[in-house]
Symmetry: C2
DNA sequence: AGATTTATATAAACACTGTATATTTACAAC
DNA sequence: GTTGTAAATATACAGTGTTTATATAAATCT
């Protein structure tokens, strides 16, 4: 039986491959992702996957885009759960959602921001839209702060001249684009990423009774530094 | 010829294995590390390595300890290059050495702080001494700041009660141990790590004419936040 | 010196991995 | 009803870490 009749085939195999990949990643971690393992779980042979993804890296890229989409959705939902006038509240909501998503899906977080897949290099031109969207929630709040004259970021360093084209690419993703706001958002991002990445990598111990103490302290520091009240 | 005479053997094979591993990591990245590849480069067979390291993970652990030792040495040397009275100068020196080491050895940095080896989990009980030493440079400066009454860290969150034993383990590594100083050092570490890890992962663009703009801005912010002058 | 033990390598094999190629067959269109 | 295409399998190749058995150089003991 070289090709099973359609009744015995997995419907929506393209979708099922991704679902099974997520299952494997959640259970065994991203580095253990294996085409043959996915095929085994689906009851098909490994080369069948090549009908839907040209190679393993293409599958990983699809997974990364899905992860970014989920992550960005959580970020935007958190922002929009607070009235637009309450910029402090929006910032805190985004920050909490950031850590919460990472703790809920640590493997997805490492898939996006780490380098857990051997030999894989993210094709940024494909991933950029989803990645930019996920940062746009924070950018929009920083920019609202700036427009309200409440952004405290004196002498902020400009991006390297070579990267002005990349900065300009951002204009495609919302008209709230502003170089300073984007730059400040990137810096804030490095700060939450620093804590969260070490936290899920179990390289720093938890702080406070519920483990969030250090993160909350850092969010307060970020607000104090950048918000003019 | 099942065993070649000693004149044809690689002298100090244990050491040569590590050296060759570093070569491979520098050239192809940590995830591409392969026992067979090392053996090939050394002109031996792969199972010969098992006479010196019980499995691949043991070799990786040895590499991580070496990387931490190199990293910690750079941190301590940077601290000691500035007079003990100049705490600001020491902090800046440590911070610059941190980024410089990471940019010089990005694969080693990811080997230590990332998760680039599929299926590998760091055995902390083995790595702890080398890891603690590498943070001790920063801890000692923060503690000197505290002892001078110049540390500004009000309401800093305490470590989670479950991790008090880990905090107490630090007492073995220098008598300058203090829970608050260690905690603040950890937070400062998350901030430099946040920038540096995203920088070497090419996930943020460089800032300023030489690419260090964002990092220098962040070091200034750290000083402003924690130093009482 | 000769026998014995130990250390250190190779050889061969196993179970994996991603991937390329050829083959087979179900299904759709003319 | 024939033809063409799409989607799967079968097979194979080169790579990986690791295990086992085996051979021999070197060290030790008598």
């Amino acid at each position: 039986m070289v090709r099973p009749p359609k009744t015995q085939q997995t419907p929506n195999l393209r979708r099922s491959i991704l679902d099974t990949a997520w299952l494997q990643i959640a259970q065994l971690g991203a580095p253990a992702l294996s085409l043959r393992g996915i095929a085994r779980a689906l009851g098909i042979t490994a080369p069948a996957i090549y009908n839907y993804y040209p190679d393993r890296d293409a599958l990983v890229t699809a997974l990364i885009i899905e992860a970014y989409t989920s992550f960005g959705g959580a970020q935007l939902a958190a922002r929009d759960s607070v009235p637009a006038e309450d910029l402090e509240g929006r910032m805190v909501a985004i920050g909490n959602a950031y850590r919460q998503w990472a703790l809920t899906y640590p493997e997805r977080y490492q898939l996006i921001f780490g380098t857990p897949i051997p030999g894989y290099a993210t094709p940024m031109e494909q991933v950029f839209p989803a990645a930019a969207r996920s940062l746009s929630a924070l950018v929009s709040v920083v920019d609202a702060l700036r427009l309200a004259g409440r952004l405290n970021a004196p002498d902020f360093p400009p991006p390297h001249p070579d990267f002005l084209p990349v900065f300009e690419m951002w204009q495609k993703f919302g008209d709230e684009y502003n170089p300073l706001s984007l730059s400040v958002a990137i810096l804030i991002w490095t700060r939450v990423h620093g804590i969260v990445s070490l936290e899920i990598g179990r390289q720093i111990p938890p702080f406070g009774p519920d483990g969030a103490g250090l993160y909350e302290y850092e969010m307060q520091s970020i607000k104090k530094q950048f918000f003019i009240r």
